[in-house]
């Protein structure tokens, strides 16, 4: 019997990522319902999944359909409430990043998980990239020694097919570029190098606005480094990690290739052998589909690769909260 899921929110992320990923895992996961305040947003999703039933109210959907799991793909503001609502109905949750908008909201979700015993996972798709799994293995094996520094520059002109201004509203999004794409970056950083601490943070928001550009000086593990992010400028989009005995570097969205050097030796261009879809635009779908499979198997108590749990996913939210608390004006 397939694993029955319902999606909460039919905006851009549901249409661009979840719809094709759910098609990828059809047979294993079955979309039974979709909820959104705006019926028009759900049209394309419902065309692809004609068996799914549409609701304007996600609570009504969860009560009526009783799915095995809920995919929370709502604006950030609703992540906490919708996740808790689902778990309290005995439904497992796969939540789009960020897990929540603040550390306090993460606390509430973790309490909800303890109370209900439900499975809760967060979409951190880059962890599934074959190149990053390999990089993680190299680091964990101590192949290059301890990390000594890092530099991350990431961003480009905002191109997400957003249908509303929710991403640009602090009350709904919780922040700007750092909360939106930075949550992935910080998750990777702490996953690869260890606990992150915030030294300084600069952004260009004014008054009630959200940042478009930011610079965070951090430590990860014991290594100092910087993170520069933008939603309007074409950045170098490079991750570079330095170690006692070498370095590793990769393009931010490359799922199969990376470069490294050992003890001042030649640059090694590495490419992980895997399905060609990982080298194409479909890599994000592959990664999301893999996570959904892992999530479903975890919910069914079957063997599965690790999911990104609340305890893991909240680390990047906590770091973001610290960044915002130390905010100073960025002038560029």
């Amino acid at each position: 019997m397939s694993f029955r899921v319902a999606i909460l929110g039919c905006g851009a992320v549901a249409n661009v990522l979840y719809c094709p990923a759910l098609k990828d895992v059809q047979g294993e996961l079955e979309l039974v319902g979709a909820a959104d305040l705006n019926g028009e947003s759900a049209q394309s999703l419902l065309r692809d999944f004609p068996q799914a039933k549409f609701f304007c109210d996600y609570r009504q959907m969860l009560v009526e359909l009783r799915p095995d799991a809920a995919i929370v793909a709502l604006p950030h503001y609703f992540h906490k409430t919708a996740s808790l609502d689902a778990m309290r109905m005995g439904i497992d949750v796969f939540c789009e990043k960020p897990m929540a908008m603040s550390s306090a909201e993460c606390d509430e979700i973790e309490r909800g998980i303890s109370e209900t015993g439900r499975v809760f996972a967060v979409n951190m798709f880059r962890r599934l990239f074959p190149s990053l799994k390999e990089i993680k293995r190299m680091i964990d094996a101590g192949a290059l020694g301890a990390a000594s520094a890092f530099e991350i520059m990431e961003g480009g002109p905002y191109a997400w097919p957003a249908r509303s201004f929710s991403f640009f509203d602090r009350k709904i999004a919780g922040g700007g570029v750092l909360m939106d794409s930075g949550v992935h970056t910080l998750d990777l950083l702490q996953w690869l190098l260890g606990e992150t601490c915030v030294v300084e943070f600069f952004d260009d928001a004014a008054a009630d606005g959200v940042e478009c550009n930011c610079v965070a000086n951090l430590t990860a593990g014991n290594a100092p480094g910087s993170l520069c992010m933008s939603r309007s400028l074409t950045m170098r989009n490079i991750y570079r990690l330095e170690f006692e005995h070498g370095w590793i570097e990769w393009e931010h969205d490359d799922a199969v290739r990376f470069r490294f050097g050992v003890d001042g030796g030649k640059v090694v261009n590495a490419e992980v052998q895997c399905d060609t879809r990982w080298s194409s635009g479909g890599r994000f779908i592959c990664a999301l589909a893999a996570q959904l499979r892992n999530f479903a198997r975890t919910c069914r108590r079957e063997p599965a690769e690790d999911i990104v749990t609340a305890a893991e996913a909240r680390k990047s939210v906590d770091t973001i909260a610290l960044c915002y608390s130390k905010r100073r004006q960025l002038v560029i």
Binding site: M153, P157, Y158, V177, L233, M235, R236, I332
Partner: protein, 385 residues
């Protein structure tokens, strides 16, 4: 003086005034919104769609509004309560020309006092015969849709009657942080070894730094004498393109002498557009150019089967510069843009004495100070360490 001290500008925004910025998602539109917000004014940014401009504007926590200037129904209430409008829209002919007419109608019915229209010195064409002044003839190059549309839009303003008061500004090369065409692209080309100058870049650049343009926009928005006037604008640094590229090279750790220099002959032989449509000469008769560059003909050619692959093949087989020439000795080959070549050889300066003498406009940053801002911006993007 630093860029941040511009907040004390003589061309300050008025806190009791509501400003509407059309085209707020663009480079100049976003910049004027930022200036207005920083000076405590009320501002309503109007954008065409959610995009990178929205992310920039979101910094200020303003309510952004989407409007399609080609559709008058979307302009309803856009100007409600506004005193001043800045029109910074570029786009196709419908957006630029009909869109302007629609905006003027809506602004008039809302009682907007002044309407500042951002035109371009491109309306005078690439080969003016004397220094450009406000009264220079409008002779947009027939190959430039942008220039022709701007000139057509200016005609609408010239013939407009019954308010709002209008101001037409004609800047040329707007540079500074966030200038994609004139500050980002050249820097990326310098870094990648694909930058080039035509005829040693001896042409007049006629630059205006973005902060100076904002000064001029605010000055003309408020100055009584600016009503229904036209102004050409420039910094007055007297830069040639080589001067400018030389300064960018210094910022980026490159050597301007290592940039590829193309002669007109090399441009003519290898410009992808020239290769498509036939020999272009600086003095090609206008009628012939019109025929070669006529929109329907271009559109037809683009649709022709195999044309695009033919164009790309011709361009890649015949780059202007051999692969072993250029910065660092490994240029990937340069395919010059005809428009860039025309600008690098621009023969005349802009003479902007009208705005200086009548309104007291004076750029307040030195060229060196403007480079400081560019340095910071390049560093943030990772172009310079």
């Amino acid at each position: 003086m630093t860029v941040s001290s511009l907040d004390r500008s003589y061309a300050a925004a008025r806190p009791d005034t509501k400003y509407v910025v059309l085209g707020a998602g663009g480079f100049v539109g976003g910049a004027i919104v930022e200036r207005l917000v920083r000076q405590g004014a009320q501002v309503s940014p109007i954008i065409h769609r959610i995009g990178p401009g929205s992310a920039f504007l979101a910094r200020f926590g303003l309510q952004q509004r989407i409007a399609d200037l080609g559709d008058p129904t979307t302009l309803k209430d856009v100007f409600k309560g506004a005193d001043t409008a800045f029109h910074c829209v570029t786009g196709d002919r419908t957006a630029t020309v009909q869109g302007l007419r629609n905006a003027l109608v809506a602004a008039q019915s809302a009682g907007v006092r002044r309407f500042v229209y951002l035109s371009s010195a491109a309306v005078h064409g690439f080969r003016p015969r004397s220094p450009l002044v406000e009264g220079s003839p409008l002779k947009p190059d027939s190959g430039s849709d942008y220039a022709r549309n701007k000139a057509a839009a200016e005609n609408i303003i010239r013939n407009w009657r019954g308010g709002p008061e209008s101001v037409v500004l004609r800047p040329s090369i707007i540079y500074g942080p966030r200038s994609k065409y004139w500050s980002e692209t050249p820097a990326r080309q310098i870094v990648s070894g694909t930058a080039y100058l035509v005829d040693q870049g001896r042409g007049h650049m006629n630059d205006i730094h973005i902060e100076h343009l904002l000064d001029a926009m605010l000055l003309t928005a408020h100055h009584p004498q600016a009503a229904n006037e036209v102004y050409v604008l420039q910094d007055g640094f007297g830069l040639t393109w080589r001067d400018y590229y030389g300064s960018l090279c210094e910022l980026l750790g490159a050597n301007v002498d290592a940039l590829v220099n193309l002669s007109w002959d090399e441009v003519l032989r290898s410009s992808s557009k020239v290769r498509q449509y036939g020999q272009w000469a600086k003095d090609t008769p206008g009628v012939l150019r019109s025929a070669l560059w006529h929109d329907p003909l271009k559109a037809w050619l683009k649709r022709a089967p195999g044309f695009e692959s033919f164009r790309q093949r011709m361009a890649s087989e015949n780059p202007a510069v051999p692969r072993n020439r250029g910065n660092n000795g490994h240029s990937p080959g340069i395919i010059p843009e005809l428009q860039i070549a025309l600008l690098h050889t621009f023969p005349q300066p802009i003479a902007d004495s009208k705005i200086r003498n009548e309104l007291g406009f004076a750029p307040r940053l030195s060229f060196t100070e403007t480079l400081d801002g560019l340095r910071r911006w390049y560093r943030f993007m990772g172009l310079v360490r």
